[in-house]
Each structure stands twice: as C-alpha cells, then as structure tokens.
C-alpha cells in the first residue's frame, strides 16, 4: 500500500544550497591542507629528486613516512569529528565528546590491557592491526553503552549528569592504565605512554590500511542515518511516532562511534576535544541538521587534524610535539567558552 509509493530514498532534499556550498568549500580546503601537509615538514623535498629517481631518499620519505602519516591524521580527525557529531545527536547534548565522556579512555584502557597482557605472545602484525583495534573498540562500546544506560531518562536535562559520569569513567580508565603502567615492562611502557598524549608518528601503510578501510566503511554506514538523528532531537517517543526505529538507530550510532573512535585511539592514542570543537563549528557555519552536520564534521575534523599534526611536527622541528597537546591547547578554552554560553542561555 502507501509504503510502495514512498520507497525511493533521497536524503538530499534536507540540505539547503548554502550548506552544499559549505560542504564543497570544506572539501576544497581539505584537499589544499592535504597537499600542504605532505610537502611541509622537517624534511624538505626536492622536486628534482622526487621525479627523477624513484628510489631516492626523498621518495621513500614521502611515500612511506609522510603520506601515510597525513592519511592517518585525516582519517582520525574525520572519525573523531563524525563520532562527536553523532554522539551529540544521540545524547541530544552538545557537550558529548568522545574524549570528555570517557569513550576514548575506554578504548585506551582496552588497548593498554592487551599491550601489557598480550603483546609478547602474538606476532606484531596481527597484534597491531587486529587485536589492538578490536580491544579498543570493545572498550569504547562498553563505555558508550554504560553512559547510555546511566543517562537514559535524563534526556536533555542530563548534560551535567553525563559529564559527571564521563569524569568517573575517565578516572576509572586512568586508574586502570596506571596499574598497567606499574606492572608493565620497559618496552610495553613505551607503548603505554603513547596513549595518553596521542601521536601520528610511526604510521605505516601496513598498519593503517585496514584501519582506513574499516573507518571509511563505517562512515558510509552511519551517514545515511543522518535524517533520523534530526528526528531524534524531538525526543525518542516522538522520533518513533515519526517512523524511526529508535533502537536500531541507537545501535548504529553506538557501534559506529565505538569502531571509529576505537580504531583511532588504537593507532594514534587519545586526542582530545576534536569531537567537541568540530561539530560545534560546523553548526555555527551552516546549521544544525545532521544531513549537513555529519559529513561537514568529518571533513572539518580531517582538515583540523592534519593542521594540528602539521603544527606538531613543524613548531619545534626537528623535534615533535604530541598532537594531543595541540588539540587540547585549542580545545580546552573552547570548551570553557561553550559552557559559559550554555549557562547564559
């Protein structure tokens, strides 16, 4: 009956021309920043060497070190931006950031657990590309489910409540990581300290390829549900009445955020505030509907993260700053400003 009439799917209708323009602009700047990030850094490429000799040091540095690193930064930024935006939609709360509410910490704890307990047992490749991300994903999804359980029924009023739960989860995770640090050996410790600061150093194609594919697939899975996240803003009962299967939607957001954040954390450690700042900026520029917000946050997240990484490796070159330090230095004051704004309204 009527449903046959309505089968054809189209999400485009709910993006206005201005928003399409913003997305195009974000995409263009992403490309520009991508090439800037590739060619700027502590190693200066000579174009002559690059084109004439495919085995030159320039070529190896570019293809095996620089490009994978920039790719990783872009995908981690996109992951954090997108998961921030969709978690903020799910919790109906603009302060939901994977870092603040403890999702990244959960992922880090999951990853640290297997570093200390399992790194010696398994071959490096399988460990790095499989076991580590999976345990990070499990850690992240446990935290999101826990948060959801706690904040259910608190609805929009649950802002402070959710942040408090996040503090508890973060504290719990740092205790866990602390204990693990204490009982770990020297080589394991090196791996652990990396989680708390975040870095894109050490990215290789072999390590990041599976991650990039999974992150892309997860995004393609999540973004078509944007419209449903809009309806969810009316409240769960209301969204149901409008035809949204709320359970499926929640599951989708939780799983996709856990996967993207989990993989990101397992490859680059904890990088704070991106998931908070990026969706907020995207909303300020062009509007709050998720058909625009989700792709916009992924694009801007990627651009910002590549820029932060570029800063981290050029500010005090040839040495490097942890990238998490840079995002937090920008993000923390922004967070304060956001709280101030919410309190005023």
């Amino acid at each position: 009956m009527s449903s046959i009439l309505f089968k054809k799917f189209s999400a485009l209708r709910f993006i206005n021309p201005f928003q399409t323009g913003v997305l195009a602009l974000l995409f263009t700047s992403l490309i520009v920043i991508f090439f800037a990030s590739i060619f700027l850094g502590s190693f200066d490429f000579s174009f002559e060497e690059l084109f004439n000799d495919s085995n030159s040091l320039d070529n190896i540095v570019l293809l095996e070190i620089r490009i994978p690193r920039v790719f990783l930064a872009a995908f981690v930024g996109a992951s954090l931006g997108l998961s921030g935006a969709s978690l903020q939609g799910l919790f109906r709360n603009p302060l939901a950031d994977p870092g603040l509410i403890g999702v990244s910490a959960g992922a880090a704890l999951g990853a640290s657990l297997v570093i200390v307990l399992g790194s010696g047992v398994l071959p490096d490749f399988i460990f790095g590309t499989l076991i580590l991300p999976i345990s990070a994903i499990i850690g992240a999804s446990l935290v999101i489910s826990l948060l959801y359980l706690f904040t259910q029924g608190f609805g929009y009023q649950g802002i402070t409540y959710m942040l408090l739960v996040g503090i508890a989860v973060n504290a719990f995770a740092s205790v866990g990581i602390g204990i693990l640090t204490y009982i770990s050996t020297d080589s394991e410790l090196r791996g652990l300290t990396f989680w708390t600061m975040g870095s894109f150093g050490g990215a290789s194609w072999q390590l990041i390829m599976p991650a990039l594919i999974i992150i892309s697939l997860t995004m393609l899975w999540m973004i078509p549900s944007s419209r449903k996240l809009d309806l969810l803003q009316l409240g769960e009962p209301e969204a149901y009445r409008l035809g949204v299967n709320v359970k499926t939607l929640k599951f989708k957001v939780i799983i996709s955020s856990a996967i993207t954040v989990g993989i990101s954390v397992s490859l680059s450690g904890m990088i704070g505030f991106v998931g908070l700042v990026v969706p907020h900026l995207v909303r300020l520029i062009g509007g709050v509907n998720h058909n625009y917000l989700l792709p916009g946050s992924a694009l801007l997240g990627a651009s910002l993260m590549m820029t932060a990484d570029l800063l981290s490796r050029t500010l005090i070159q040839p040495a490097e700053l942890p990238v998490g330090l840079i995002t937090s230095a920008i993000g923390a004051p922004f967070f304060l400003w956001l709280i101030f704004r919410i309190r005023k309204s």
Binding site: S2, F6, F9, S10, E238, L242, N245, N289
Partner: protein, 257 residues
C-alpha cells in the same frame, strides 16, 4: 475503516492503568476522551499510538493488529501530538515542521512538499515564524508548530485516500482562545477530509462544541461513550468529576462551580 481497541488493558506493578477498554475511532469523526486526572486517558492514547505495549487486549488499525505493522508504516497511518520535549539544537521552525516526513522518496514530490509546508503553516498561523529559531518561540507558538508537524506527517503528495488517524493529547494546551478556536476548526476540517481524530481535552465545553462522540474515562475504565448531548448529562459528569454540574440545553453549555 477505524482504529479499534478490544479489551485493551495496561498494568503497571499490578495496578490497572487502562482497564479492558473497547471502543473504536472511525474515519471522519472526532472522538474526545474526557475524565479527571489519572483516569488513564493519556495511557490509553500511548497504547493506541504504540508508544507503550499493552498487557492484554488488542489494538487494530483497519482490522490489522498494531504489532504487525512496521514502525515506518505506522507513521504513515497515524500522527501523534502530546507534551513535547526541549530541543537541544537551534532548528528553524520550518525544519521542525518538515520533520513530519522522514524521507519517503521526497525528491519526486519536493515542489509539492514545499507547497504543503507553506499551506499548512498558513492554516496553523505559523507562516510568519517559518524562518525563526524554534527555541525562541513561546509555549503556544511551539504548540502550533508541533501541530503543523503532525499535519504534515499525514499529508500525501497525491490524492490518495488511504485511512489516516490523528491522536492528539491536549492539543490546545497553552493556546490563547483565538488560536484554540482556530485549531479546533482546523481539526474539524481534517475530519471532514476523512481523518479519524482521537482527542484528549480538559475543557468540557470545548469538547461538547467540537466532538462527534465523547468517551468518558474514570479509574482506567470506560464509563460512557456516545454523542455529546447524550453522554454529557448532569448525573454522569457530576459523579465522574466529583463536582456539582448543571447543563443548559440551548445553547448547550456545562456549568460547574
């Protein structure tokens, strides 16, 4: 065609909130539920909309069990308006109204849809508010916008006359008398177009003025159902509300003190 309940019952902690209620809401009629607080009116509406599931009994939409209808299919058949929640982000009024439709292949009808949104926002007197931020509106204005959204939900791109129902829990709350009358007239207009309407109201005179039939609830039970003139008598109303009432015949008016 109708929505029908058969011995519909909802128990919470062994207390019967809704107690074996059987009635039907026909296409093209306004059925209003009256009753004191805690009579089970809103709970009954939640069972019909599918928000909550019954302990026993059945809800049938055009002879099909509600539990056999998919969530999306339900959204084509009935729209619901009740107490609404706060919205965290700054959607425009137009965006809120458009939420009546998820996607439903809208690309083919986008022009028609655009026109329908404007048409309905004129009917609900929210046309001037369309570009405004929803969160800056007053309570009554928000109510009208949500009503426009429930109307858009049942809007059809072509002249398809499949059965549709509106379930409205105190739609006129927070409205001034002008907009209250306008909304009730609009509900009557939708009834004339063939939509079956279930209303919950507190204003007895408003109910008497606009309803085709009235159902009176008390303690989760259906006390009486029928045309206003028959059901709304001094005896029944006084005992249900535990308040002395008198009724004028011409014009029909209920007085209470």
């Amino acid at each position: 065609m109708s929505v029908e309940t058969k011995k519909l019952t909802w128990e919470i902690k062994s207390k019967r909130i809704v107690d074996e209620i059987s009635l039907s809401i026909n296409q093209g009629e306004i059925l209003t539920i009256l009753g004191p607080n805690g009579a089970g009116k809103s709970s009954f509406l939640k069972l019909i909309s599918g928000d909550s599931s019954e302990t026993s009994g059945e809800v049938l939409y055009d002879d099909i069990q509600l539990c056999e209808i998919s969530i999306q299919e339900r959204s084509f058949m009935r729209s619901v308006m009740s107490q609404s929640q706060e919205i965290a982000y700054d959607f425009s009024v137009k965006e809120i109204i458009e939420m009546g439709w998820i996607d439903r292949g809208i690309s083919d009808y986008s022009k028609d849809f655009e026109n329908a949104v404007i048409q309905i926002s004129i009917e609900c007197s929210v046309k001037e508010l369309l570009e405004q931020n929803f969160n800056t509106l007053s309570g009554g204005e928000k109510r009208r916008v949500h009503f426009a959204r429930t109307l858009i939900q049942l809007w059809r791109p072509s002249g398809s006359y499949d059965p549709r129902y509106m379930l409205l829990d105190e739609p006129t709350a927070n409205l001034d008398i002008l907009h209250e009358q306008r909304m009730m007239k609009l509900i009557q207009k939708k009834r004339d177009e063939g939509i079956g309407v279930l209303l919950i109201l507190h204003d007895l005179n408003l109910a008497a003025q606009y309803s085709d039939r009235i159902a009176i609830f008390k303690d989760g039970k259906l006390v009486e159902i029928g045309v206003p003139e028959k059901v709304m008598n001094e005896e029944t109303l006084s005992s249900v509300y535990e308040l002395q009432m008198t009724i004028d015949k011409d014009p029909f008016r209920i007085n209470y003190y």
